[in-house]
């Protein structure tokens, strides 16, 4: 099969390189005669020639094309940036499968329009609604350092919130607001068995974001990292078993969890160790300059296992009711260490076996590889100096394993199964493949710690994601470059252009990584993505039983059985029990009085795959997506009198348009006249 495909490829390539075959005369396309029915213009070779596709183009097409009905091998979960969602993408086809609404209302899923309103409200800040989010770093749940396909976590950089998504139904189940931080960037990250979800802060504020003048920056402003306890049984973060650590007011950036040998430790990085406070309007250096003066910032090395014990021992203070281990306690207990790192880094990425930590400083052309073993030795030897807050800074030379000059603007690193690491180069707009040493040395033919290949991407790559590329067993095969700019890659859609996801073939070792596919991302600005083997996911095809409440993941006590539809009135409270099926609602008429409080229970009693119904009430800002078996309850005050036509907003059947009904809200004066 492989040989045959290769043969076809070579022949197709040769034919394309043969001049004058544009018309696809049959004698010029012997390779394609098998699929030609006398119409030379339809042969693969002729089409390739007519469309001016090079052999590499044809190869890329053949590697990514999925015939109708063929399911992708890998699934990518990409953040949506300030669209506040998560996107699910099939690979290698790069087809967008769906979005998952998280922090931002999304009416197709009904999210915020009757579904998930309570969950969104849990993300309120001091009682204020915040109906958008800035999702950055998705984290799949892990078992023994490998993705297990059960849960997905995502942070909201704007408001320091973490959301939990259940991968049985791909729906958001929980949003937790960090009580002490107003923004985050260091998560979400899952520990190797998903005991903890790590959320590092970003821009320093007083903890709890109370007011403090900027000239008190060094003393009053602080950074933080929060460890959220995940209760896998309940499928929820348990805030009552979670805690945070106070950090110096450096701007902490992304974190990663140690694994295998470094399990129990957490690594983060930081910028603005200059403690710059900006103020361009007053003639001060702006943040971008002030925060970039020193050659080194500090990698944060945290003993999470020990920190958890310190927390359990009660050695914490409370900020806004949330347990925080103070900087002083962290230093005394030996929970926190620093190591100098190239300045203004973003990625801090733990190698598959857990023994190396790769840091890329955006303003340094190297990636710097730290040895966990050497870190532990330096800590044992107390080979350190201290920063102004008293945190031990390990000696750089004592903990570094290697440095590799990869190019300009290194940002984020992923790994494969062939002893290579991959680093995005923002300024060079390239992806670099380089070799790891140590235990990975035998997996590749090139010298250790050297660049093996570079591929240009278009343009300005931020994060990259390789198939299971941040786990203990990366798959290799595919890498996606999450490019910030698309510039000239697509039709110009006005001044706001899509992002560009580019798929790279990293299956073969050596100096070539072919660019296979450009996927425009015109519905959000993803930052990071994780890619999981599709067969690890076990999603439900329909909800397990009719009347299923997706929030409790059990049958709702209010589930409506066919034949038991009814409207119950109790004073001013009206309960509607409605069944939903192709192609009718039952009941079809609901009449209430203005001022009634309406609780509407809806059960989609369908069992067929894809038999989703919508339920929209115009004027009341309600639109639900009721998937097969799903039960939902909505409540509203019928304060707007009139005649409202509720209808199925998801095309369901041949008689979909007929799937409608009337909500009549009797004005107070009419209702009064009737009762008199």
């Amino acid at each position: 099969m492989k040989t045959k495909l290769l043969g076809t490829l070579l022949l197709v390539g040769m034919i394309i390189l043969t001049p004058g075959c544009g018309n696809g005369d049959s004698e010029q396309a012997p390779a394609a005669t098998s699929n030609s029915s006398g119409n030379g213009g339809d042969t693969a070779a002729a089409i390739a020639a007519e469309r001016e596709l090079s052999p590499d183009d044809v190869r890329a097409a053949l590697l990514t094309y999925q015939p109708s009905g063929r399911i992708d091998d890998y699934i990518m979960f990409a953040s949506g940036g300030h669209a506040g969602q998560v996107f699910v993408i099939g690979m290698p086809s790069m087809r967008l499968l769906r979005s998952i609404a998280v922090f931002t209302p999304e009416s197709w899923q009904g999210w915020g329009y009757g579904i998930g309103n309570d969950i969104l409200a849990d993300g309120n800040i001091e009682g204020r609604e915040n109906l958008w989010g800035d999702t950055h770093h998705p984290a799949l749940s892990e078992t023994n350092g490998d993705y297990d396909g059960e849960w997905l976590f995502i942070n909201d950089k704007a408001h320091a919130r973490i959301a939990v998504i259940d991968l049985r139904d791909f729906e958001t189940k929980q949003i937790v607001k960090n009580p002490i931080a107003i923004n985050d960037h260091g998560g979400a990250v899952a520990t190797p068995n998903t005991e903890w979800i790590i959320e590092g802060g970003q821009y320093a504020t007083p903890l709890g974001w109370d007011y403090a003048p900027i000239d008190e920056y060094n003393d009053s402003y602080r950074g933080s990292v929060t460890f959220w306890k995940f209760d896998r049984e309940k499928g929820r973060i348990d805030p009552d078993r979670s805690f945070a650590m106070e950090l110096p007011p450096y701007w902490q950036d992304i974190f990663d969890a140690g694994k295998l040998v470094s399990d129990g430790w957490v690594f983060g990085n930081s910028f603005n160790t200059e403690l710059a406070t900006g103020g361009i309007e007053d003639g001060n250096a702006p943040f971008e300059a002030g925060a970039s003066q020193r050659d080194a910032d500090y990698m944060h090395i945290i003993n999470l296992d020990k920190a958890a014990k310190v927390y359990e021992a009660g050695k914490f203070t409370k900020v806004k009711g949330f347990p925080v281990i103070s900087l002083k306690t962290s230093i005394e207990e030996g929970l926190l260490f620093f190591a100098p790192e190239p300045k203004s880094p973003h990625g801090v990425d733990v190698a598959p076996k857990g023994e190396y930590i790769v840091v890329s400083g955006k303003l340094d052309p190297h990636v710097t590889i730290y040895s966990f073993e050497k870190m532990m030795q330096a800590i044992a030897d107390k080979n350190w100096t201290h920063d102004q807050y008293g945190v031990p800074i390990l000696d750089f030379d004592a903990v570094v394993e290697a440095q590799v000059e990869v190019g300009l603007g290194p940002l984020h690193t992923q790994f494969d199964n062939k002893g290579y690491a991959y680093t995005s180069l923002f300024l060079d707009t390239q992806v670099a493949r380089w070799t790891l040493g140590g235990a990975y040395s035998d997996l590749h033919d090139e010298p250790d710690w050297s660049v093996a290949a570079k591929t240009s991407v278009h343009y300005n790559v931020g994060h990259i994601a390789a198939a299971e590329g941040d786990t203990v067993s990366p798959d290799g095969k595919y890498l996606v470059s999450l490019n910030k700019w698309s510039v000239d890659r697509f039709f110009t859609t006005g001044p706001l252009l899509p992002q560009n996801f580019q798929l790279l073939d990293i299956d073969k070792p050596g100096d070539k990584m072919q660019l296979l596919y450009d996927m425009p991302m015109g519905i959000g600005e993803p930052h990071y993505a994780q890619i999981i083997k599709a067969d690890k996911l076990k999603p439900w095809k329909v909800y397990p039983e009719v009347g299923w409440d997706p929030h409790t993941q059990s049958v709702s006590p209010d589930a409506v059985k066919p034949g038991e539809e009814r409207i119950e009135r109790n004073g001013k409270n009206v309960d509607v029990y409605m069944s939903v099926v192709r192609s009718h609602f039952n009941p079809e008429h609901v009449e209430v009085n203005q001022g009634d409080h309406v609780t509407w229970h809806l059960t989609n009693v369908e069992r067929a795959l894809d038999a989703t119904h919508g339920f929209a009430i115009p004027g009341y800002d309600i639109n639900l997506s009721l998937e097969a078996g799903e039960h939902l309850t909505i409540e509203f005050d019928a304060d707007l009198p009139g005649t409202f036509t509720f209808y199925c907003s998801e095309f369901c059947s041949a008689l979909h348009l007929e799937m409608t009904g009337y909500l009549r809200v009797k004005p107070t004066e009419v209702a009064a006249a009737v009762t008199e």
Partner: protein, 232 residues
Amino acid sequence: MNQALNKIVGPRIHPDEWAAHRGRYLLPTALLVLAAVMLLVSIFLPFWHMQLNAPQYPGGLHVTGYVNRLAGDVAEIDSLNHYIGMRPLNEAAQFEKATAVMMITALSLLVLGAVFIHSKWAALLSIPAVLFPVGFLVDLHLWLSYFGNNLDPTAPLSSSIKPFTPPVLGTGKVGQFETIASAQSGLILAAVASLVILVALWRHRAAYKPLLDTQAQSGSGDNPQKKPEATD
């Protein structure tokens, strides 16, 4: 009275004859027991299956009939059938489904009973079991016909679907659906049991006819001790 009973039960086998031709009498007995067991086993097996193929249902919809219940995509088929005004599938054959286990058990016991009857009455006891598979299909056909021809005239698509009877076995067509009905292991087992009974009755007759003839010659049914003549 006793004489009538003896006539029904038929002659007993003389111990000498039993010793000489054990196999001759054991064969019909074994076949009848086998058929009874097959019938009992069939209770747990699917009897009938219908697959409904339509473009939007890759893999089709399936309903499997057991003697006492329906399994498969019944809810989905009902949900579709309401468009043409067909009654829910589970409303069909309620009496048959409720009594099937009891009835089949009774059929099996009758067949087992035939083991002890050495006269023509053995055939009478076994005939219901022989006819059972055919009866099942006839009953099913009548229900399919009743359901397909008694559609609710006010149903959404009543004007576009004419009354129809899906074939009880084989392929039919209704709307965009192709129906493929087939016999399943339980029905096949019951049909094989019928054949086994027929063979058993044939061997039964061959074995006991000489005894009966002898009995008739002796002019009395109360002398089973008389040794029959050897037939071979």
